[in-house]
Amino acid sequence: MNTASASDSLRTFEAPAGVPVVDVDPYTDEFLTDPYDAHQRLREAGPVVWIPAYGIYACARHDSVHAVFNDHATYISGAGVGLANFNQETPFRPKSLILEADPPSHTKARAILARILSPKTVTQIRATFTAEAESLVDRLLVRQAAGETIDAVKDLSEVYPLKVFPDAVGVGEANRENLLLYGNMIFNAFGPRNERLQKSAELVQPVTAWIMAHCQRENLLPGGFGDLIYQAADAGEITHAEAPMLVRSFLSAGVDTTVNGIGNAVLCLANHPEQYALLRADHSLARPAFEEALRFESAVQTFFRTTSKDTELFGMQIPKDSKIVLFLASANRDERQWPVPERFDIQRRPVGHMAFGSGIHGCVGQVVARLEGEVVLAALAKRVSRFELLGAPKRRLNNTLRALASMPVRLIPV
């Protein structure tokens, strides 16, 4: 019953002795719309707490989130990084070879992806990614001048990653928006089997065949990231049966994450014009500005681990095979870690934020994600003197992501 929505039943799970209880449901519309007060309650209760609605342990402080991420032998990923415990129930899809795996098999897959997505690769793709960002912002200004209202989500934060990342992977131009439906479903699936997941699964169902087909070699352009996975298989580093599974990781983790990372960053800058003015005055702040936005509004809000043995965490006894939810976004606003965490400050050095996780499962695409964020913010800083939000931006509620549905804006040209 672990994955039933709390609202489906009145059943709650009795707290283990001594563990502080926080009676929240992290998957209600209310929580997902504005999670930060609830995060603070979770942090105040202790480094390790119990959420009775789902019968799970939770860490919401920076030190406890960091500790769990960095002890991958005790807190494993192979039993799933969402609410479902794969030791007790069958995964809804074949397990990811990287996200839902542990050493030694994880190490092998990780090494291949880390090589493909390395800082060296970034130096090769930087010029193209920059040019695409600049030409996109130019086009938006032309469309706006012609009378169109620009939506910073639909026309910018969704469009940019959907152009550059599938280009780099080697996916053809047609029907790429299927990747947004797929990502939305995958990240909902780390939560409970609630209505939100069900609806996103219905939407993705007709395009599942397209997604799986684009994990196959014949649909991946030579020299792209996807093809490089198959070359690793040719070299015997992984099997040819494993190759499409690793390509799948690009398609599931590489788009909806950066879409919302960029969307949240633009929203942060629109809401904090004095910070945008700093960026306008010094374009080299584009990268630190994106970094601070990742801390301030983490695109991925939560991931889970499962205990591989009986253990103790900050004085709390946790039995083997327990699920623990880690609130990354809360760790990133922990007043024990960050001075005035609720202040968005692009000159902060938020080194050690948890938006990409930490340890051996830390986001393997993070240097590419940072490149995308940096070049989009720099392109805006060069061409747009300020933003005006035309009405309140709309969130797209997702069980795991801090996502946006729309953000109509007026871009005031330089």
């Binding site: 090494a111 090589r115 800082p119 080194v351 050690g352 990409f356 051996i360 986001c363 993070q366 240097v367």
Partner: protein
């Protein structure tokens, strides 16, 4: 607490007292040392905490893991035989007095 001295590309040096077990990158970032970025937070994912370890200490450090070696191929400044990632150097009594030089740039 073990001590570590960082000498930047212009020759400016700074000595830090570091809690046992903390990484060189964490210590430098916490102290506001600008020559170390540590963008990925210590996951050996970004190569922006590149340092050159003083010869006298070369043998006292554990050999780099595969992940660190891969990342050392991605440094913004020249990789030398003494190149290491600061996030992978954990300070301890055995490394007390460690001296590292910082590269000209990290990104």
């Amino acid at each position: 607490m073990p001590e570590v001295t960082l000498i930047d590309a212009s020759g400016q040096s700074r000595t830090l007292q570091v809690p046992d077990g903390q990484s060189l990158m964490q210590a430098a970032v916490s102290a506001g040392v600008r020559g170390i970025v540590g963008e990925c937070g210590g996951s050996a994912m970004c190569a922006t905490c590149h340092v050159y370890v003083d010869e006298a200490f070369a043998d006292r450090l554990p050999a780099p893991l595969e992940t660190e070696l891969e990342m050392l191929e991605c440094t913004a400044s020249e990789r030398l035989p003494s190149s290491r990632l600061g996030c992978q150097i954990k300070l301890s009594a055995a490394l007390d007095g460690l001296i590292v030089r910082l590269p000209e740039r990290q990104q």
